[in-house]
C-alpha cells in the first residue's frame, strides 16, 4: 500500500441540481503525509472544500454523488466504509475545524461540556476527558481553564472560540486535522496567533494538517505543499516556495499576480480644498463609546483609508458621517457646513454628493429590483438630475463605465456573480455623480482576482472623475496599493494618521507596527524570514 497518511485519488463529485448535473470536482488527486501541512488554495466555487467534505462523509447524497475515485486512509477506502465506521474515524482519527466557530459551537451548552463530549462520545471515561480538556484549553492559550469550561460560547471572543474549536478537535489526538478557512473570519493579529498555534501543535503531535484557504498569505505562513484548484480541477501542485516563485499554470500566475500589496505606493497629501472635515466626532451606544473624538480632513479627489480591526469603530465613523447613525458629539464640515446641524431638506440635496458602497453586494441590492430599477432609483429620488426619457441611455452608459453590458439592465442581482454585483453597486453610487464615495469593506468579500479587478475599476473612476474615496478596510495590502492617506483606528480612537508611505514604511505607533507585522506576505520566503526574526 502507499506510505502516505491520506491519499485522494481521482475524486469526482457531482451535484444534481434542478438545472442538471454540476461537476463540483473532477479527477482530483492529492496526498497528505504525517507531520506535513498541505494547503488547498482556490477561490470560491473552485471546489476546494468538496474533497474535505468527502473525507468526512459530509456530502449530502443526493443531491451530491461521489461517482469516481477513492480516498485511502490506513489502507482503507473511506468512500466504501459504512456510516458507522465513519463515525468511529470522524473526530477520533480525522478532526475538522471550521471558518465560523460561533456557528459550530452550540450556544446553549457550556464549552467545557461540549469539549468533553467529543471524548465521551467515543467511549472514553468522563474524568479522563475532563483532565484532557483542561490541559488542552490551557494549551491553546485560554486563561483560567477551570473557569473557562463553565462559560458559554458567546462569552468568548472570535479568536478564543477558534482556539476552543482547535482544542475540541485535538481532544482525541487525531492523525489528521482538516482546517476549512480557519482564520478567514478573524482579525489579522488574531489570525497570526491562531496560525502560530496550529503550527506549534502540529510540531508537538506530528499530525497531518490539511488547510483549505483562499489566502496566499496563509499558505505562505503555514503550508509545506500547495494544491491549487480552479473550477473543480487541480491545476498545480508543489511546495509552497515552488508554486509561489515559479508558477507553471496560467491560473496560478494570475492568482499570484492579483495578490495586492506589491505595487508602487501613491504619494499622499493633497493641496486641493478640503471636502470633509471631521472635528471630534463621537458616538456612544448606550454607555459604550464606539467612537471617541475623531478628527480628520478629506480633500477633494483624495483617497483616505481607514484601517483597524473589527470593533475599532471604523465603520461607525463612516456611518456617523453619512448620518446613518446619529452622532453624539462633534461636527462634520462638508465644504465648510456642518452636516450634523443641517435640516432635512439641506441634507437631502447633499446626500447625492456622498454615496456609499457596502461590503456585501448580495445584501445591499434589493433582490426584487432589476438592475435598471436599482440604478434609476437614484434619479427617481433626486428628480432634477436626469430626465426620465434619458434613464435608459444613462443606465446603459453607467453599466458600460463599470465594465458590464448595457443589456444587463433587465436582469436581477441574483443572476450576477459577486464581483459583477459589486460593479452594479458601484454604478448605482455613480448614478448620482457624487464627489465622495464611502467604501465600507467594499472588496473584502470578493475573491483575490475579482478584488483586483474592482480595485482597478475604482482606480479608473478616481482618475477619470476625480472622486474622493473614504476607503474602509481591514486588508492592509489592498490599502497599501490604493490609498493616498491612511487612518489607523483602535478601540474607537484614531491612533495614527499619515500618508500611505509614512504608515507603511515608517509607522510611529506601536499598534500600527503590530498591525503591520501581523499581516501575512504571500511570499513564503519573506514569511519564513519574519518568523525567524
Amino acid at each position: 500500500m502507499t506510505d502516505h497518511l491520506l491519499e485522494v485519488r481521482d475524486l469526482s463529485v457531482r451535484f444534481h441540481t434542478a438545472a442538471g448535473a454540476v461537476d463540483a470536482v473532477k479527477n482530483v488527486s492529492w496526498h497528505l503525509d504525517r507531520g506535513e501541512t498541505l494547503a488547498i488554495l482556490g477561490e470560491s466555487g473552485s471546489g476546494k472544500s468538496v474533497s474535505a467534505s468527502a473525507i468526512m462523509n459530509l456530502i449530502d447524497c443526493p443531491p451530491g454523488e461521489v461517482w469516481k475515485g477513492e480516498i485511502i486512509f490506513e489502507g482503507r477506502d473511506l468512500l466504501k466504509i459504512t456510516a458507522e465506521e465513519h463515525r468511529q474515524l470522524n473526530g477520533k482519527r480525522i478532526a475538522m475545524i471550521f471558518q465560523d466557530p460561533l456557528s459550530h459551537l452550540n450556544p446553549v451548552y457550556r464549552v467545557g461540556w461540549q469539549i468533553i463530549e467529543t471524548m465521551t462520545a467515543h467511549g472514553r471515561p468522563a474524568p479522563a476527558a475532563r483532565q484532557r480538556a483542561l490541559e488542552l484549553i490551557a494549551r491553546v492559550g485560554i486563561p483560567d481553564p477551570e473557569h473557562a469550561m463553565t462559560k458559554f460560547p458567546h462569552e468568548f471572543s472570535g479568536g478564543q472560540r477558534q482556539r476552543l474549536m482547535i482544542a475540541m478537535a485535538l481532544m482525541l489526538k487525531p492523525d489528521i486535522l482538516i482546517a476549512d478557512e480557519p482564520t478567514t473570519a478573524l482579525d489579522v493579529t488574531i489570525q497570526a496567533e491562531v496560525l502560530a498555534l496550529l503550527r506549534e501543535l502540529q510540531a508537538e503531535t506530528g499530525m497531518g494538517l490539511l488547510l483549505i484557504t483562499h489566502d496566499l498569505g496563509v499558505v505562505a505562513e503555514t503550508a509545506d505543499r500547495v494544491v491549487v484548484m480552479n473550477a473543480g480541477q487541480v491545476v498545480e501542485t508543489g511546495t509552497a516556495r515552488q508554486v509561489y516563485h515559479n508558477p507553471q499554470h496560467p491560473y496560478t500566475r494570475k492568482l499570484i499576480a492579483a495578490a495586492p500589496g506589491k505595487g508602487e505606493m501613491r504619494v499622499g497629501g493633497s493641496s486641493r480644498p478640503p471636502l470633509l472635515e471631521a472635528r471630534s466626532v463621537s458616538k456612544t451606544y448606550g454607555d459604550v463609546p464606539a467612537l471617541k473624538e475623531a478628527n480628520f480632513t478629506l480633500h477633494a479627489g483624495q483617497t483616505l483609508a481607514i484601517v483597524g480591526e473589527s470593533g475599532s469603530g471604523k465603520s461607525t465613523l463612516a456611518r456617523t458621517i453619512l448620518q446613518l447613525e446619529t452622532p453624539t458629539g462633534g461636527e462634520a464640515l462638508w465644504k465648510g457646513e456642518d452636516l450634523f446641524k443641517m435640516g432635512r431638506k439641506q441634507l437631502f440635496s447633499l446626500r447625492r454628493q456622498m454615496q456609499m458602497v457596502f461590503q456585501d453586494p448580495t445584501q445591499s441590492l434589493n433582490p426584487r429590483m432589476s438592475v435598471f430599477e436599482l440604478i434609476s432609483e437614484a434619479w427617481a429620488i433626486h428628480k432634477d438630475l436626469v430626465p426620465k426619457s434619458q434613464w435608459r441611455d444613462r443606465v446603459a452608459d453607467l453599466l458600460m463605465q463599470v465594465g458590464l453590458h448595457a443589456d444587463h439592465a433587465q436582469r436581477y442581482p441574483h443572476q450576477f456573480s459577486g464581483g459583477q454585483r459589486q460593479r452594479i453597486a458601484i454604478a448605482r453610487a455613480l448614478a448620482l455623480e457624487p464627489e465622495l464615495i464611502v467604501c465600507d469593506e467594499a472588496v473584502s468579500a470578493l475573491d483575490v482576482s475579482i478584488q483586483a479587478q474592482v480595485i482597478e475599476l475604482l482606480n479608473r473612476l478616481r482618475t477619470e472623475l476625480g472622486i474622493a474615496f473614504l476607503f474602509i478596510a481591514h486588508d492592509l495590502p489592498v490599502v497599501r496599493d490604493f490609498a493616498d492617506d491612511v487612518i489607523v483606528m483602535q478601540n474607537g480612537r484614531i491612533v495614527e494618521i499619515g500618508t500611505a508611505r509614512q504608515i507603511f514604511n515608517n509607522p510611529q505607533q506601536p499598534y500600527t507596527r503590530r498591525l503591520l507585522a501581523a499581516g501575512l506576505e504571500p511570499d513564503p520566503d519573506i514569511q519564513a524570514a519574519r518568523r525567524k526574526a
Binding site: R351, E377, Q410, Q415
Partner: protein, 314 residues
C-alpha cells in the same frame, strides 16, 4: 445559458405584460386549476343570484333531504336537497356571493389595516410601536367570538357589520407578522443603501420593505380565508350573523349538522366548497409567491437557468 436568458428577456419585452403571467400559470397545472376554480366561484357569486335565487328558496317538502346523484327532479338536485327540499346545488351557487363577499372583505380589510399598522409599528419610534402592539394585545386577549357577539348584539346583523367585526378580530395576526418582518428588513443593507441615496420614508416602506413582506402576508391571508368563513358560520349559527333566508356556505354547514348521520350531503357539499376555495387560494398564492420573486421565477419560465452556473463568467 446567457443566450437563452436574453432570449427570454426579449420575449418578455416584446409581448404584452399579461402574456408571461399566463404562460407561467400554464406551467404550474395545480395553480391553473385553482385559478379556474376561483374564476368559476367568482362567476357564481356574480351571476348566481340573478338566475337561481328563486330555485334556491323554493321549498319542496316532498323532496326533503333527497339524496344526491339523481336527476329525477331536475339537474339542480344533482347534489341532493336540504331539510326543506331546496336544491343544494342552487343554494351553494347563490350562497357564493355572501360567503365570498364576507370572507374576502374581512380578509382584505384586516390585511390592509394590519399591514399598515404593522409597517408603522415596525418602522417608527418605539413609543408608537408599543402603543400599537398593546392595542393588538387587547384584541388578541379578548375572545374574538365574544367580541363579535357583543358588537353584533348592539349593531343590526348585516354583511357590512359582519365584515367589520371579523376584520377587527383578525387584524393582530397581520400586524404582528408585518412588524416582525419590518424590524428585520429595515436593518438590511439595501434599505441602508436607499437611505444613503436620500430615499424618503415612504419610498423605503413601499418600494423596499413592503414587496419583501407581501408574500408572507398573502400566504397568511389565504389561510385566514378559511378561518373567516368558519367564524362567520359560527356567528350565523348563533343567530347574530347572516339571517335566513340569506345563506352562506358556513350557515349551510351548520344547518346541515343535525342531519349528519342521516343526510350527510347537507353539510358535505358546502363544506367541500369551503375547502376547495381555500385550497385554490393556497395553491394560487403559492404560485404567486414564486412568480413574483425574480430569484425563483425561472422555475416557471421553463428556461433551465442555473443560478450558480452563471457566477463563472465574471
Amino acid at each position: 445559458m446567457i443566450e437563452t436568458l436574453s432570449n427570454a428577456d426579449q420575449a418578455s419585452r416584446t409581448s404584452p405584460r399579461l402574456l408571461p403571467a399566463v404562460r407561467m400559470l400554464w406551467r404550474d397545472k395545480f395553480a391553473l386549476a385553482a385559478a379556474i376554480f376561483l374564476l368559476v366561484a367568482a362567476g357564481c357569486a356574480i351571476f348566481g343570484h340573478t338566475f337561481l335565487s328563486d330555485a334556491a328558496s323554493s321549498q319542496n317538502l316532498r323532496g326533503r333531504n333527497s339524496p344526491p346523484f339523481s336527476v329525477e327532479q331536475g339537474w339542480l338536485f344533482i347534489l341532493g336537497a336540504d331539510a326543506l327540499g331546496r336544491p343544494l346545488l342552487a343554494r351553494i351557487i347563490v350562497a357564493a356571493r355572501n360567503t365570498l363577499m364576507i370572507a374576502g372583505g374581512a380578509v382584505l380589510c384586516s390585511m390592509a389595516v394590519g399591514a399598515a399598522l404593522g409597517l408603522v409599528a415596525g418602522y417608527t419610534s418605539k413609543f408608537v410601536s408599543q402603543v400599537i402592539m398593546r392595542l393588538a394585545d387587547v384584541i388578541m386577549s379578548f375572545p374574538s367570538l365574544l367580541l363579535a357577539v357583543i358588537v353584533l348584539y348592539m349593531l343590526p346583523p348585516s354583511v357590512t357589520n359582519l365584515v367589520i367585526v371579523l376584520a377587527i378580530t383578525r387584524i393582530p395576526v397581520y400586524l404582528r407578522t408585518t412588524r416582525a418582518e419590518v424590524l428585520e428588513i429595515r436593518e438590511r443593507m439595501f434599505v441602508q443603501a436607499a437611505k444613503v441615496m436620500g430615499a424618503s420614508h415612504l419610498r423605503i416602506i413601499f418600494r423596499h420593505i413592503l414587496p419583501i413582506v407581501a408574500p408572507t402576508l398573502l400566504t397568511i391571508a389565504t389561510l385566514d380565508f378559511a378561518f373567516v368563513m368558519l367564524a362567520e358560520s359560527s356567528l350565523s349559527f348563533l343567530g347574530i350573523g347572516i339571517q335566513p333566508p340569506d345563506i352562506t356556505w358556513g350557515l349551510m354547514v351548520s344547518q346541515g349538522r343535525p342531519y349528519l348521520s342521516t343526510a350527510w350531503w347537507l353539510a358535505f357539499w358546502p363544506g367541500l366548497a369551503i375547502i376547495l376555495t381555500t385550497l385554490s387560494l393556497n395553491l394560487l398564492s403559492n404560485w404567486m409567491r414564486v412568480a413574483l420573486d425574480p430569484v425563483q421565477r425561472w422555475r416557471l419560465e421553463g428556461t433551465s437557468q442555473n443560478n450558480s452556473a452563471e457566477t463563472a463568467n465574471d
